[in-house]
Structures are given as structure tokens and as C-alpha cells.
């Protein structure tokens, strides 16, 4: 295990300089995607990524690896569609095999209300060139004969939506791919370097304090997840974020039984099979705010029960491992991307359950914003001031689980 985690394998250790053009707080997929894009596409290499733990130790290494574009608003569909397009060629761009695999996503509906929402979603997705089809129960049975159309006898399935572009990417590989690409171009990644303060002078962000010393910075970007409200508070910025926990578990590995993602829009549970053969089960965020990453037996029992109702073969599988990640939930379930009220202090925050799938486009467009000073149209609706000006992008239905 330690071999995989060795710094030396992928990262060259660098001296912490007293100043950088850009300091990125958070060594997860979004911070590293930003660093990669700044260095690769804008020639900005005087960049430091400060990670309090090891890279990918937060949500980036704990998510369930789902990539998709079937969102529910005119703002989010094109954004995640653009992200999905980058995902398809990202392995080549990073020169790192991300194990990207397009297998489709099947969202089951047990009520006519949720099927109606899926129909609306399908129409909206198609309007933006994203394929999402509505299926009948008979079509579901053909697509996946292992689905229990009776929903365990309690929740009969009345239809589904199918999103063929739904994909997976190996989350650790994405972290390492971005990190190795960024460092090859001169970016410094400093692990075990928690930020303890952010210097703001006359409303302008000037640098950060770490437990290894202070760093002057031309600009600072918070790309943390789980603790983004605490980091922003260091700069005097109050974020409308509630941190909640999301749990998942995997079974022991089995031979291939499931293609793509199978989810229930009413039971709030989903299952996929990893490249290693484990059946991976996730559900909705826990209904209370917490910073604890302690996994619970209650989740395991409830998520397993619900999964058995839609995919009964899993009843015979043995749970092997369970884990918890933190999700920074915004009031509208959409990310916060842009410059904060403190000049030169930027936010890539509020990544909820959508940070992994959006990371390629979030990094690309935030790099463009930082390098050119021009806000790209695709992320303009996600500016931090949208809560104060009542221009939210409500998309909770898309974002509650995977």
C-alpha cells in the first residue's frame, strides 16, 4: 500500500518559496485541475498547490467516480456536457491512464412524479445535445435483466431514464494524472502544508500563512472541499455552505454482473461495478451537517436494503469496505466559481456531490478567468455573488446523490 502512496513515485518534492503568482489551497481534483490548466494552457507555472494532508485525501479520493452530464437546468447541462467532452480525451492530455470508461447510466423511477421529472430532464438534455432517453419497464428488462422491476415487491418500477454518455474514471488516477502533469510543467505541490491564515490588506488578498511559514501571492484560490467555509472565513468571506457527509461501500470483488451506473431516483441509492469487480453502492448525503468522516452501520444496512430492492443479486455479496467523504452543499446545489468579494481571492467551492465530474471544466474555465481576467460564459451563472443577488441555479434533483 505504501508504494502507491509514495511521494517519490509521482511528485517531486519542492522547496516552499516565499512567494508565488498563484497559490491554490487544496490538492484535490479541482485544485490540481486548475494548476494543470494554468500551467499547460496559459503558461502560468509560478503556482503552488498547498494540501493540508496528501493529494486526493478528501472528496477526490472518496467519491464514487461517476461522470455524467444529465443535469436539470439550462446552466448546468452545458457546463457538465463541456466537462464530459474533456473527460473523453483527458488521459491523452495528461499522459496518464485514467481508466475512463463510458458505460451509461440508468436512473430508475418508482413513481410517476419522478418519471415526469426524468421526461422533462430528457427534453432539456436533448435541447443541449446531451442524450438522455426515457425507457419503459420492458425496455429496462432488456437492458438489464438483473433489475427487479417489482422494486423488492414494494416499489414497482414505472420507467427510467437512460443516459448513454454516463461514465466512470478512476479517481486516484485523476488526482495523480493532474498532479504529475502540473509538476512536469513547474507547478509546486506541497503536501502536509495546511493553510492557517489568509492575508487580506485593504480588501485585497496578498498571501497565505501556513505552518511552514508565510507565502506572498498574486492571487489565492480556495479549492478545498469539506472545509471551504472555514478557509474562506480566514479571508473574511462568509460562504452559504453546509458541510454534510456522504457514505459509500464496496463489496468483495465478483465477476462482471453490471454495466454502467444503476440508480433509483426515489430510493436514493445507486450501484456500479468497479474495474476490479467490487460492487460499489452509494446513497444520498446524510441529513445533518457534520465534519465527521466516521462511517455508520445504519447507512450500510439501509443502503444495502435499498440496493437489494432494485438489484437483488447484491444480497449474496459480502460488504468489504465503507467510507465517508464530506460534501460542501450550497443552497442551490450548484458550485461556486469566481472571484470573491475580496479582490484576488477566488473560490472553487461548494462542490457538493458534483466536484469530481466537473473538475475538468471547472479547472479549465477558472484558469481562463485567472489568466485573462475575463469570466467565461459557461461559469458566469455560478459566481459567488449569485446568492446575494437572488440569481441561484437550483439543481438539487440532479445533485442529491451521485
Amino acid at each position: 500500500m505504501t508504494g502507491l502512496l509514495r511521494h517519490r513515485t509521482f511528485l517531486r518534492r519542492q522547496e516552499l518559496k516565499p512567494s508565488y503568482d498563484v497559490v491554490i489551497i487544496g490538492g484535490g481534483v479541482n485544485g490540481l485541475s486548475l494548476a494543470h490548466n494554468l500551467a499547460t494552457h496559459h503558461g502560468m507555472t509560478d503556482v503552488a498547490v498547498l494540501e493540508g494532508n496528501y493529494i486526493g485525501s478528501g472528496g477526490s479520493g472518496r467519491n464514487t467516480q461517476v461522470v455524467r452530464a444529465n443535469y436539470n437546468t439550462p446552466e448546468t447541462v452545458p457546463l457538465y456536457k463541456a466537462s464530459l467532452e474533456i473527460w473523453r480525451t483527458l488521459s491523452a492530455e495528461l499522459d496518464f491512464n485514467l481508466l475512463f470508461s463510458t458505460q451509461g447510466e440508468l436512473d430508475l423511477c418508482h413513481t410517476h412524479d419522478s418519471l415526469e421529472v426524468e421526461r422533462d430532464k430528457s427534453l432539456l438534455n436533448r435541447a443541449y445535445g446531451v442524450q438522455t432517453d426515457v425507457l419503459t419497464p420492458d425496455e429496462i428488462a432488456v437492458m438489464n435483466p438483473l433489475v427487479d422491476l417489482t422494486g423488492g415487491g414494494e416499489f414497482p418500477i414505472v420507467g427510467a431514464s437512460f443516459h448513454p454518455p454516463g461514465s466512470f474514471a478512476r479517481h486516484d488516477a485523476v488526482v495523480w494524472g493532474y498532479a504529475s502533469s502540473a509538476t512536469r510543467r513547474g507547478v509546486h505541490i506541497h503536501e502536509q502544508t495546511p493553510v492557517t491564515g489568509i492575508a487580506v490588506v485593504d480588501g485585497v488578498c496578498r498571501g497565505v500563512t501556513t505552518d511552514r511559514g508565510t507565502i506572498d501571492a498574486g492571487m489565492v484560490v480556495s479549492a478545498t472541499a469539506g472545509w471551504s467555509s472555514q478557509v474562506a472565513a480566514m479571508a473574511g468571506v462568509r460562504l452559504p455552505i453546509v458541510t454534510m457527509a456522504l457514505q459509500a461501500f464496496v463489496t468483495e470483488p465478483y465477476r462482471h454482473v453490471l454495466d454502467g451506473l444503476l440508480s433509483s431516483m426515489d430510493l436514493y441509492v445507486y450501484v456500479s461495478q468497479t474495474a476490479r469487480g467490487e460492487l460499489l453502492v452509494g446513497a444520498e448525503v446524510l441529513p445533518y451537517p457534520t465534519y465527521s468522516t466516521r462511517s455508520t452501520f445504519g447507512f450500510l444496512a439501509e443502503a444495502a436494503k435499498r440496493t437489494i430492492q432494485i438489484f437483488p443479486v447484491i444480497a449474496h455479496a459480502r460488504a468489504m469496505r465503507q467510507w465517508t467523504g464530506l460534501c460542501d452543499m450550497t443552497p442551490d446545489s450548484s458550485p461556486i466559481l469566481g472571484e470573491s468579494e475580496v479582490e484576488r481571492f477566488y473560490l472553487m467551492s461548494g462542490m457538493g456531490t458534483w466536484g469530481f465530474k466537473g473538475s475538468p471544466i471547472f479547472g479549465k474555465l477558472m484558469a481562463e478567468r485567472i489568466a485573462t481576467g475575463v469570466m467565461p460564459d459557461l461559469i458566469r451563472p455560478f459566481a459567488p455573488d449569485r446568492f446575494a443577488t437572488d440569481r441561484m441555479v437550483p439543481d438539487a434533483y440532479s445533485a442529491g446523490t451521485h
Binding site: M1, T2, L5, R6, H7, R8, R13, N53, Y54, S57, Q192, F249, S292, T293, R294, S295, T296, F297, G298, F299, L300, R321, Q322, W323, T324
Partner: protein, 151 residues
């Protein structure tokens, strides 16, 4: 009588080369070092000292192996104290493992769950993955006749 009781513990995982771990001097603050694998050790410590022990371990092990990794993994575990005059008998209902002596520990199957068992002055400390805590507590009560003591 045996009692089963939640026990808050801090756990610091230390992954490093076997050679470095062989030479590692255990940290202070009453930490118990468990060498769970040739390239992995876990420090068990009172929660109040978790941050101090993590820092101390990090300083010591990175001086021996610059690629060593020290992580606070407390959230991943549940500590259960199985204590009282009948603690040995209660443990025998939960596990076929021979109880450890002195400062030693053993790891293996407890109530069908992978666990680490540490000897304590008044019984045992069982360390199990966080999500199995409730299951092992229930088994201790129902299978081994322990009384639950809520902390």
C-alpha cells in the same frame, strides 16, 4: 460480569519502509504502537493527544524515511472496551483467538469482523472498523452476555 463500553481513541497510521519502522522510537503521551504489517504501524492514543502524537510520529519517521506517510485515521475506527471480571470469558464467546498478553495485541476475527484486540488492565480494547462498532457491541451483549455501559 463483563461490560462493553464505547472508548474514544485516537489512531495514527504510519506507513513507511520496514527498516524505518524497525528503528522508530515510539512517541510519548502514552501512545501504544501496533506493528500491524512490516510497512505499517498504528499508534493508539488518548484522543486529546492525537494531534501531538501525529506531529511527533511525522517528525520521527520522516527523518528515517522521507517518503513515510503519517495519517490520522481515528474516524475510520470504533474503540470498544470489553472489561470486567468476565472479560476473558466474554471475549471467548466472540472470538476463537487466544487473548493477548501484556502489551501485545492480536488481530483477527471478532464477531465475524476484522478486529484488533489489545489487553487493558481491566479487560480488552477492541478496535473495529467504525461502521462495525454497533454490530460488535450488539454481539457482545447478545452472544457474550456483556452489559452495555453508555459513556
Amino acid at each position: 460480569m463483563a461490560n462493553v463500553q464505547d472508548r474514544a481513541v485516537g489512531l495514527i497510521e504510519c506507513a513507511a519502509s520496514p527498516k524505518a519502522l524497525d528503528r522508530l522510537i515510539a512517541p510519548g503521551h502514552g501512545a501504544r504502537m501496533l506493528r500491524v504489517a512490516p510497512d505499517e504501524a498504528i499508534a493508539v492514543v488518548a484522543p486529546a493527544f492525537t494531534a501531538d502524537v501525529r506531529r511527533e510520529l511525522n517528525d520521527r519517521i520522516t527523518a528515517l524515511d522521507e517518503d513515510a506517510l503519517v495519517l490520522d485515521v481515528s474516524d475510520g475506527w470504533t474503540g470498544l472496551a470489553l472489561i470486567g471480571a468476565d472479560a476473558d470469558r466474554a471475549l471467548s464467546y466472540l472470538s476463537a483467538l487466544d487473548p493477548p498478553d501484556g502489551d501485545a495485541f492480536i488481530q483477527g476475527d471478532v464477531a465475524r469482523v476484522a478486529a484488533k484486540i489489545l489487553r487493558e488492565p481491566d479487560g480488552f480494547l477492541l478496535l473495529v472498523p467504525a461502521y462495525w462498532g454497533e454490530h460488535v457491541r450488539t454481539r457482545a451483549v447478545e452472544d457474550a452476555g456483556a452489559q452495555t455501559v453508555r459513556s
